[in-house]
């Protein structure tokens, strides 16, 4: 085992970053809910098992509620926020894919960019997790070129022999590894989010099916089952819809951004009371259409990274894998 090197790295990071990592919260929680992303108080608390944390990194990258402007004397003044240096530790490959999508979606977003700049991303993989099949929506081939197409600063991979292998994915990552005294690492040059051979074939075939699916009976079935509660949206690391919201009262004078939920009635409501999405069927179709068609078209990337969080979150057991099969 060369975990000593990892500890050296973490100790170095702790000097200048707040550390966030997946942690086991409580053995008594329902299956699937035991792991969450929390601030690391003690390095032992970090979970390196590769289990999918229930909460996602979205909460760190795109806070639920974010102040964009202060209102001063009736004018909008850009809110000056101090963005802390955060090291996001043990992000798994699927979450790195979600991050890579966010980097595209918010490429021109000042607030996202300012928040991201002082962050350090440390990816981690245990190889294929034992329950990996469960998470599989799109084909992920870990060995082949995956790391070239996801964003990270440092990546740590546990080999079959139990040893750790270190990679840098950015200059910042290299510098950090050097400063921590780790010399035995490889550099991976980011080759853009999409593979040279073009977008994933499975992705394209699912997109084509989804585009032609409007009359499939799966939507009538989901119309009856789905509660439109929006828990899947909250849990999903790639859902990024948002609202802008003004507050001007004695306690708060601001324009801010907060997560939007496409299942809620006001999402598409216009002033005369009409709604584009006026049935549960249209809402859930809209949700899948965004993930399986709009995002792939716009960014050539999957809108679903196959993390399975929405499946765990759904109170009535709606499963994106089964929906995709039924298309």
């Amino acid at each position: 085992m060369n975990d000593q090197q990892l500890i050296k790295l973490l100790n170095k990071l702790a000097e200048s970053y707040f550390l966030l990592a997946p942690q086991k919260l409580d053995d008594n929680l329902l299956p699937g809910y035991e792991y969450g992303i929390r601030e690391v108080k003690n390095l032992e608390e970090i979970d390196w098992s590769g289990a999918m944390p229930y909460g996602s990194w979205k909460e760190v990258l795109l806070p639920y509620h974010e102040r964009l402007f202060d209102i001063q004397k009736g004018r909008l003044v850009e809110t000056k926020t101090k963005y802390p240096p955060i090291a996001c530790l043990a992000m798994n490959i699927l979450d790195l894919k979600a991050l890579t999508l966010f980097e595209q979606v918010f490429a021109n977003d000042l607030y996202y960019q300012k928040r991201r700049r002082p962050m350090l991303i440390v990816g981690y993989s245990t190889g294929l997790p034992s329950d990996y099949k469960k998470y599989k929506v799109f084909s992920h081939n870990y060995e082949e070129n995956v790391l070239e197409h996801v964003i990270f600063d440092i990546f740590v991979s546990r080999q079959k022999n139990g040893r750790l292998k270190f990679y840098s994915g950015s200059e910042k990552g290299q510098l950090t590894l050097d400063q921590a005294g780790l010399t035995d690492y490889n550099n991976i040059e980011f080759a853009g989010p999409v593979a040279e051979s073009g977008p994933d074939k499975t992705l394209l075939s699912i997109m084509a099916k989804m585009e032609k699916s409007a009359n499939k009976k799966i939507w009538d079935e989901l119309d009856k089952r789905c509660l439109a509660c929006g828990k899947c949206v909250i849990a999903c690391p790639t859902c990024f819809c948002f609202d802008l919201e003004d507050r001007d009262n004695s306690a708060e004078q601001s324009r801010s951004r907060r997560w939007g939920v496409c299942f809620y009635n006001d999402f598409s409501l216009v002033a005369d009371g009409r709604k584009e999405l006026d049935t549960v069927k249209k809402k859930i179709f809209f949700w899948y259409y965004h993930k399986l068609v709009r995002i792939p078209k716009q960014y050539s990337l999957p809108g679903c990274v196959g993390c399975g969080r929405c499946i765990k979150a759904c109170p009535v057991g709606i499963n994106i894998n089964e929906t995709i099969k039924a298309l």
Partner: protein, 273 residues
Amino acid sequence: MFNIYQTQSAKIISVDFESVDTKLLRLKFLDRTRQREFDFLPGQFVQIGLPGWGECPISLASSSTQAKNYFELAIRGVGKLTNRLLELEKGDLVEVRGPYGNGFDVDLFKDKPLLLIGGGCGFVPLRPLINDYLAGQMSNTVLQIFYGCQNEENLLFKKEYHLWNRRAELNVILEKPSSKWAGQKGLITDLLKNWKITADSVAVIVGPPVMYRFVISELKKKKVQEENIYLSLERRMYCGLGVCQHCAIGPYYVCQDGPVFRWADIKGIGGVI
């Protein structure tokens, strides 16, 4: 880095009553360079707002040939923000970002008879097209305007009809006019039914969604091609930049790929009109 949500202050330089519930605001950016560099296409819109009251999309209503000097917005009071905007007076400031959207690609209309078909307050985005046509910016052989409205009180831009009539044909029809009304009475489709429309015409439709269905079927009876039917859609919007998803229809964003669409391109998407 440029902040895509940063608005700029614009001063109201005049306010005109247009109809019972609509006012025409003429605006000028406080920053002179911003105004000088301001440019838009007919059919594009801005996000206009007041800090504390939010923002909303409003179509540019003036001629793009005047964009360097000022721009106009015709605003109907329907809710929290729009009603507040109508309380403002000359000299007051509003916050604006944009222009957004694709606008009308007038090159596609070139050298063809052009029909502008507007219903109710949806008529607004047609005004820049009319003004640009009158200013000699467009090469269409004929410009015919069809405007359907509830009653005289709701008609927009009344003061300009005599100008429009000089070079274009304006046909107004009212659904529930007063007894004084000497013009036509009925729905916009009644107007189209009895009109000679050539099959090579380009039609632009803006109005409430119910109108679209009937007008399109009427145009198809007249053999107007689906590729030559354009419409402008209204959806809820926040970002205006193809990110927040509120305005998405099928694979498109109304804020970015629209609000102007070719009927042939969107007719397959369920529930668009």
